[in-house]
């Protein structure tokens, strides 16, 4: 019996750490609607700074003072980030902030290694909480008891802050309706800044308090960020009580789950999230998301099919690309193939995200399923390459059909998180089911047959498929189905009121996107000759998101451009420097600030300006006049 009590308390201690970080994320999202990918980075910086301070200053005061000072210092960094970066992009398309904070995260991961060195750092234990308390023969670390008490205290303080102060009332109002607060004449800017600072403070505090239990290292952020998102979503976005309950739920399920299923931890949170979201689409304590009001002034250029000239130009570009093998070496061709494959991957997500308004955070699942499909067919059934390429993507198609059915019942961030959960479930199956998938050692030896083996042949294959896929999806964008899909994105209410079965349209789009991603994955398996769980992993899903956002989520060809720029840059940087994350992150942040509509979005604006400044027909005349003025 005593054991179960202690296990329960241990779970509570884990929950408290999780809650601290999650509450900050929840607050930030609730008010600013920012999907703050950098939350884990702030957590990590909190731990690093606290490590430095607590090593530098001795005694109890040195320790506790160091922890609080670290959290405050990081909050200040947060304020800076908010003012310099986020303020510029609140009005950018939804999720663009995700891109910005993702860039920041990349930078921070390299920066901490530059500043604190590569070694794992182990800080000292908390003065006064070094030992354990005996509980009927079981030991409970006293620091755990401290954390268990801290969780509810923080919850209480936050509750008071929100219920009893004017600031809190404003924050709650903003959580419900941003525009209303603006209408009340409240300085929205500073409200957001302060909320961001509080959220970051909590993240950094959570990180700093890990010092007595954990090692401080440069991958702490990734270890926690996904889990924290999951907790926030299970609890219901913006609900702090929800975050608390979810943290307890997840931690306790883990603490007791491992007694029966010792391998459950790897997937537990995602299973819980999937179940919760299917049963309660807005999380345990969440409310249905108010339909996001379109930001005024954010009118999108109406989409149109390419004109004849543009088609010819694209064809010419394709021909030039196809001539690459005439002058490029094998390595360049292989890189070209990889870029072409990522174009396929990116346009498939773009179709779902830009056309359908459904931002999947787990799109790699279908890419990877396509890859595994090929690997199974080639290695187990020994089928010829062409058959594998045709049938392999069907695995992606089937995965998308099953998961998509549940996912499209949700929308917005909840949709995104459910897709993430599904992707993680698929990932962990690939990771765990060693006898079939080879686990993380993957499936090797999936090499192309002779006709496609040479780099130039494979390049032509990849380029050809990429061109076909891009054209096919583009045709679909301007097909009746594409119109219907955009309709469901723009207004569910109106589309249902004109006879559109929105869920079925979205489901179809999901399957199309999943199958297309599967095609990319199938080619990828042959390009690399092997398949690994990585091919279904979060980081690949994030890559896809970044490519689409970078290209421009509101544009038709953003996926293509984003994939080419991001992938080429990424490959080049990884090859040239060990600090590729720092440079790539910096580049992304720069793009976010300078081109808040993405690369293609920016090009469109420039083209529009040019068109406006020189009225058609009078351009010859107009120019000298203008310059004369």
């Amino acid at each position: 019996m005593a054991f179960y009590v202690v296990q329960f308390l241990t779970g509570l201690a884990s929950a408290a750490s999780l809650f601290l970080v999650a509450s900050g994320l929840s607050i930030i999202f609730g008010v600013t609607r920012i999907v703050n990918f950098a939350h884990g980075a702030f957590y990590m910086i909190g731990a690093y700074i606290a490590f430095t301070l607590t090593e530098r200053f001795s005694g109890a005061f040195g320790f506790w003072g160091g922890v609080v000072a670290a959290a405050l210092a990081v909050a200040l960094i947060g304020v800076l980030v908010e003012i310099v970066l986020l303020r510029r992009i609140y009005h950018a398309p939804e999720l663009f902030q995700l891109l910005g904070t993702f860039g920041l995260t990349l930078m921070v991961e390299d920066l901490v290694v530059l500043i604190w060195g590569p070694d794992d750092l182990v800080g000292r234990r908390a003065p006064g909480f070094k030992g354990a308390v005996d509980f009927f023969g079981q030991n409970i670390p006293s620091y755990d008891l401290f954390l268990i008490a801290l969780g509810p205290v923080v919850l209480g303080v936050l509750w008071l802050l929100f219920q009893r102060t004017r600031w809190g009332v404003l924050v709650r109002a903003a959580t419900q309706d941003r525009d209303m607060v603006a209408a009340l004449g409240v300085n929205q800017k500073w409200l957001f800044t302060s909320v961001f600072a509080v959220g970051v403070f909590l993240a950094a505090l959570g990180g700093a308090l890990q010092i007595p239990r954990d090692a401080v290292h440069h991958a702490m952020d990734l270890r926690i960020i996904v889990e924290v998102f999951v907790v926030v979503v299970i609890g219901g976005l913006g609900s702090i009580v929800g975050a608390f309950v979810a943290a307890v739920l997840v931690s306790e399920l883990n603490a007791f789950g491992i007694l029966i299923f010792p391998k459950i931890s790897i997937i537990l949170v995602f299973l819980v999230m999937a179940v919760v979201l299917i049963v309660r689409p807005w999380g345990l304590f969440g409310k249905p998301e108010a339909a996001a009001r379109k930001t005024p002034g954010l009118s999108v250029n109406p989409w149109r099919p390419l004109t004849l000239n543009e088609r010819l130009a694209s064809l010419a570009a394709l021909i030039i690309a196809a001539m690459l093998p005439l002058f490029a070496g094998n390595y360049a061709l292989t890189v070209g193939s990889e870029i072409a494959i990522f174009v396929i991957f990116a346009v498939s997500l773009h179709f779902l995200m830009s056309v359908g308004g459904l931002a999947s955070f787990g799109h790699a699942a279908y890419f990877g399923l396509g890859a595994y499909g090929v690997a199974f067919l080639a290695k187990m059934a020994g089928l010829p390459m062409i058959v594998c390429l045709l049938l392999g993507p069907l695995l992606g198609c089937m995965g998308a059909a099953v998961f998509g059915f549940f996912a499209v019942q949700l929308s917005g961030v909840y949709f995104a998180m459910l897709t993430l959960a599904f992707a993680q479930i698929v990932w962990s199956i690939a990771f765990q089911w060693v006898s079939v998938t080879g686990g993380d050692n993957g499936i090797l030896g999936v090499w192309p047959e002779k006709w496609a083996a040479s780099p130039s042949h494979f390049y032509w294959l990849a380029l050809g498929v990429a061109a076909l896929v891009t054209i096919a999806l583009r045709v679909m964008v301007f097909s009746p189905f594409g119109y219907a899909l955009r309709a469901t994105r723009d207004s569910l209410l109106r589309s249902e009121a004109v006879g559109i079965n929105a869920k079925r349209i979205q489901w179809t789009a999901f399957v199309i996107a999943g199958t297309t991603a599967g095609i990319g994955g199938a080619l990828f398996a042959y390009l690399k000759g092997s398949v690994f769980p990585d091919n279904l992993g979060i980081s690949l899903s994030v890559d896809a998101l970044v490519m689409v956002l970078l290209g421009g989520v509101e544009t038709v060809s953003g996926g293509v451009i984003g994939a080419i720029v991001y992938k080429a840059l990424n490959i080049w940087l990884v090859s040239q420097t060990d600090l590729s994350k720092l440079v790539l992150g910096g580049f992304i942040v720069l793009i976010v600030v300078v081109f808040p509509k993405g690369i293609v979005g920016m090009l469109e604006i420039l083209a529009q300006r040019r068109r406006k400044s020189s009225p058609p027909g009078s351009s010859l005349l107009a120019k000298p006049v203008e310059s004369a003025e």
Binding site: I266, V335, V434, G445, G529, V574
Partner: protein, 400 residues
């Protein structure tokens, strides 16, 4: 318009990607790949190690009179990126052979690439047995003692313990799983009386140590096998210390004696764990002394195990090329099979039968000295003594 821009962009990217470093045509180029950005704490000392080797080799006149150049790439911890890097090194840089890799899956990916492209690959660190056995191939050699060898070394000591009730804690991925499987198999062969009372499989890098420690303690084993490492190990040790998990229990632990993993523990270092590792401070052989002196002189830092591996990888590569007298792949394979060479740990041989080197490891017990973790009672275990019989190896390895 937009599409055209995209393709121009692509062309630029490809051109940029096509440009490489310039090494003189006469130099011998070796390609090296590792997870520098993902695992800096292991790969930094490793890099220092191989850089030292390059310096020594060139100072001694290079390989057969030619200068050695190592071109190093980061794989970011992703098998797919490692293959891109391998491809760049082979196709674009024209390296004579590939070396490196730390993670097992990356080692396997590059090994498979080498097999496909008929390139010589000397795997430095990946531990999985598959590299030389189940998925071994003609082109791939491996330096570091494999999972099996480390397990066998530990079993030798562990089987002498009186403990009968054992629990295991291992990261939930191929490395952890196969480490536990081999250890259990070899232990059970020597000690049929042993009972396995609990197993814990925390996710790699994400251990929730409190509940894991409690769960193991609840099963009340007499001895524990640990396979976690890095930050997970730190958390496990801290929770285990506080909760008294290790009190009165024997612990056998993979790799924990390597400075990479032992040093961060400082005053948390548990006493008396039986571990494999690298006690650089207590090895008193002329070969190691020479290495240690050179390393400390160059970097003003002490070596980690990665330093040894990096150093010996390049030394081995150079020895193989020197013996082959050429950078022709088949000649290098022929030269490498059965080659013997000196190393800081004494003479090692790359076995013909499975391309595994006989580099060994140190087994000893953990202890604390001046607030730092050290290995005591250490002894060097030669790799050749901890490999299965040739007949068994024949069965494990596919015919090529």
């Amino acid at each position: 318009m937009r599409a055209r821009n995209s393709f121009v962009g692509a062309a630029f990217a490809l051109l940029a990607a096509g440009m490489g470093h310039s090494a003189l045509a006469d130099d011998i180029k070796i390609g090296e790949i590792n997870s520098y950005s993902l695992l800096p704490s292991f790969t930094e000392p490793y890099r220092k190690g191989w850089q030292l080797a390059v310096e020594e080799i060139n100072a001694a006149g290079g390989i057969n009179g030619k200068k050695l150049v190592v071109i190093s790439k980061d794989d970011g911890g992703k098998p797919a990126d490692a293959q891109t890097a391998a491809n760049e090194l082979v196709s674009s840089e024209g390296v004579a052979m590939l070396t490196g890799t730390f993670l097992s899956n990356i080692g396997l990916a590059v090994s498979d690439f080498a097999n496909q492209k008929k390139v010589f690959f000397l795997a430095a660190e990946p531990l999985t047995d598959a590299v030389t056995w189940a998925k071994g191939n003609k082109y791939t050699f491996r330096l570091r003692p494999s999972n099996y060898m480390q397990a066998a070394m530990l079993v030798e000591a562990a089987s002498k313990l009186p403990a009968k009730r054992w629990a295991t804690i291992a990261p939930n991925y191929e490395y952890g799983q196969s480490a536990v499987a081999v250890f259990k198999k070899l232990m059970s062969e020597k000690r049929p009386d042993i009972q396995w009372v609990d197993e814990q499989w925390p996710p790699q890098g994400k251990i929730d140590a409190g509940p894991v420690v409690q769960a193991v303690a609840q099963a009340n084993p007499e001895a524990i096998l640990n396979v976690t490492f890095g930050p997970d190990l730190v958390k496990l040790v801290r929770e285990g210390n506080t909760r008294g998990l290790f009190k009165g229990r024997e612990v056998v632990s993979f790799l924990t004696g390597e400075p990479e993993y032992l040093d961060p523990l400082k005053e948390e270092t548990p006493e008396g764990w039986i571990v494999t590792g690298y006690p650089w401070y207590s090895i008193k052989t002329p070969e190691h002394d020479a290495f240690l002196k050179a390393y400390q002189a160059k970097y003003n830092d002490y070596p980690r195990l990665g330093s040894i591996v990096g150093y010996q990888t390049i030394k081995a590569a150079a020895a193989i090329i020197a013996k082959a007298g050429s950078t022709d792949t088949d000649k290098m394979i022929a030269a490498a099979e059965g080659i013997s060479m000196p190393s800081p740990f004494g003479e090692i041989t790359f076995r013909k039968i499975d391309h595994q080197s006989t580099l060994g490891a140190f087994v000893g017990k953990t202890a604390q000295k001046d607030g730092k973790g050290v290995m005591v009672d250490t002894s060097y275990k030669k790799g050749s003594d901890y490999l299965p019989s040739d007949a068994e190896v024949e069965k494990l390895r596919p015919k090529d």
